[in-house]
Subunit: 191 residues, 2 copies
Amino acid sequence: MREHGQGGRVLARGSFLEVRRDDVRLPDGASATREYVVHPGAVMIVPLLDDGRLVLERQFRYPVARVLLEFPAGKIDAGEATLACAQRELLEETGYRAREWACAGVLHNAPAYSTEGIEIWFARGLSAGDRRLDDGEFIELCLLTEGELERRAAAGELSDMKTLMGLMWLQKWRAGLWPLQWVGADRASTG
Amino acid sequence: MREHGQGGRVLARGSFLEVRRDDVRLPDGASATREYVVHPGAVMIVPLLDDGRLVLERQFRYPVARVLLEFPAGKIDAGEATLACAQRELLEETGYRAREWACAGVLHNAPAYSTEGIEIWFARGLSAGDRRLDDGEFIELCLLTEGELERRAAAGELSDMKTLMGLMWLQKWRAGLWPLQWVGADRASTG
């Protein structure tokens, strides 16, 4: 069932996106080409405030031409540990630091044409600080209760798949079905 | 918060992927570029057998270099209605036809760099037939109960985000929380 790469080339290298085209050998011996985005991987954080609210963001997403409500997320820098990335993105985009972290898992969001995996982290014991947005980032913070987010999801107002997934995962954890392993932020950032 | 496109160009046009780079005007008047995959949109089908099992597929996904367990899905053809696409993909990839269909919603799976939206359809009243795989498609059918799929999800063995999302949506519907509007396949294919 496996496809074996037989070499390939960069189809496009933009400032943000790299696209490759590889020749592959199919399981029956035939040849085919596969085109895909080379992505460094990303993290998403589900930040849980002590008062029960969740930290979300509203952000215009040019490719889909609309403002989406999303959990904080960002691309992994070269050589960066995923938790270090999660801590950095949470701080930069929201200003929050977290005392405890738990890795839920990695999900593939576009496996037909992107190498991206999104590692989902939960964060609790939050303390607010100043955020440090990159130039050209326009992100509005949005603190919502879990009930309010569920209401929006049920109403079809939550179209970002990773965010809807984060809410579902949170509900599974609250229900005791999908346990999380929490670690301290200090231990975490060295691991 | 909106970003306004100021023209752009095709960065790469492969056999499968088209990538664009647009110049945009940011909310503060500054300029930036946005690179993204132009995608026709996709559908995913959650096929419910009368005996309680679900129809899934195992397929090697070259970009992530592994076999993933997924609900049937595929790209929308030019001018194709989304339900017609769902019916076609289900038939081609699994051989099943469905008596009733329900559209759950559209989710954005990579809004930072792809225009893709995945429309999620539920299908029931299934009858088996012959499938019609495209050349170069190697897809293994996998009939699983909802409990078995949930067990795999809880064990972290289900890394395809849309499929995990489909399972969660199914559970919400079964729990009476997220209702579905079912329509007959005949009415559906004309609408």
